[in-house]
């Protein structure tokens, strides 16, 4: 059976081995079950990263409560690690807050991208709830699931996002409780945990990879390296996403839609 070609938000067309097409509903799983399944890699990936955040925060002079509050209110991994440096360095409150927010500005693209992928009838009544958890990883996992034929629903998004959020909070609490030197005697474990996020992004990238998108991916990667090299890591994130997306404008729409 071929891949699902979505013709409406809840219908897809699949081609069998003898070239006949079949019209059917997209995956029959309940949104909550599908959300849990899509969240599993995030839960496994987020806990150790958040644990590292809790450890790093307490090592740099934040209390456990302060580390947990950052995870509870901000819920943005890279920005939270930067927050540790800003707080420890004594940066002014407004400057630090705006710097962290600016670092997350790329998130403005995520909601419209998901809704465009979901189709014109996609519900967004409870967007004010699931938008809170629309991190890089949740966005990538949702996009990967939609590319595999998962039907977009707000129940799916809430389950996916808040499972990830729960894991992030639990990992932060555990790391803050363990304290600043928790991973000092475990270099192999520390190395494995450090690689969890790159591994997750690579696996997600492979799950949506399609030949037609290679130019988009290559240009995004090159722009990230160049802007990080010349400016900063945050500039690299912006440059990669924008350059890749602009490169995609030159590709036929059907090829982009089929793939990701």
């Amino acid at each position: 059976m071929g891949a699902c070609q979505r013709i409406r938000s809840d219908l897809c067309l699949t081609e069998n081995r003898v070239g006949r097409y079949r019209l059917g509903m997209r995956t029959g799983k309940s949104p909550v079950v599908a959300g849990f399944q899509a969240a599993l890699p995030l839960v496994l990936g987020y806990f150790p990263i958040a644990f590292s955040f809790g450890v790093s925060a307490t090592r740099n002079g934040l209390s456990g409560t302060e580390a947990f509050a950052l995870s509870l209110i901000v819920f943005a991994g890279a920005a939270q690690f930067l927050a540790i440096a800003l707080v420890a360095g004594g940066a002014p409150v407004v400057v630090a807050g705006l710097t962290l927010a600016a670092m997350n500005l790329r998130h403005v693209l995520y909601g419209p991208t998901l809704l465009q992928k979901a189709g014109p009838d996609a519900a967004r009544r409870f967007g004010w709830i699931w938008a809170f958890s629309l991190t890089d990883e949740v966005f990538a996992a949702a996009l990967g699931a939609l590319a595999k034929g998962q039907r977009f629903s707000e129940g799916f998004m809430v389950t996916l996002g808040f499972c990830a959020y729960g894991s992030w909070l639990a990992g932060t609490a555990a790391g803050a409780w363990a304290g600043g030197g928790a991973l000092d005697g475990w270099p192999a474990l520390s190395a494995g945990l450090d690689f969890m996020l790159p591994a997750l992004f690579l696996a997600l990238l492979m799950s949506i990879l399609h030949g037609a998108q290679v130019p988009v991916i290559a240009i995004a990667g090159l722009a990230t390296v160049a802007a990080t090299w010349w400016f900063s890591g945050t500039a690299g994130l912006f440059a990669g996403m924008i350059a890749g997306a602009v490169a995609g404008v030159s590709l036929p729409m059907r090829r982009l839609s089929d793939a990701g």
């Binding site: 962290l100 809704l115 996009l143 690689f195 969890m196 591994a199 690579l202 990669g240 839609s257 793939a259």
Partner: protein, 108 residues
């Protein structure tokens, strides 16, 4: 808990939430299926994931030779595991395990 840490968290948290939520209110119904915006948004997904992967890898590839070696073993682990099982969970865990295993075997 210090007041300044709470204030930083609130400024960053509220603005980050607005970045995530406000674009959902945009009206996409009138968007041309083959227009610039539709193509731009369709390409944003793969571009974003590729960007995030590269951004995560860069610090690992600018470390010591051992760190670079571990990262490459991890990438290989993800690639082989995904090719074998086609599972994001399995590939992620396999990559982390490969990287940690490489450190345990001496690349530390």
């Amino acid at each position: 808990m210090r007041a300044e840490v709470l204030e930083i968290a609130l400024i960053a948290g509220v603005l980050t939430y607005l970045w995530r939520f406000l674009p959902l209110r945009a009206n996409l119904r009138d968007m041309q299926p083959n227009g610039f915006l539709a193509r731009f948004l369709a390409a944003t997904g793969p571009a974003a994931i590729a960007t995030l992967f590269v951004a995560e890898m860069l610090p690992l590839l600018h470390g010591t030779l051992a760190q670079e070696g571990r990262a490459l073993v991890g990438v290989l682990g993800v690639g082989l595991a995904y090719a074998w099982r086609r599972s994001v969970v399995f590939a992620t865990l396999a990559g982390a395990l490969a990287c940690g295993g490489a450190a345990w075997l001496g690349l530390s």
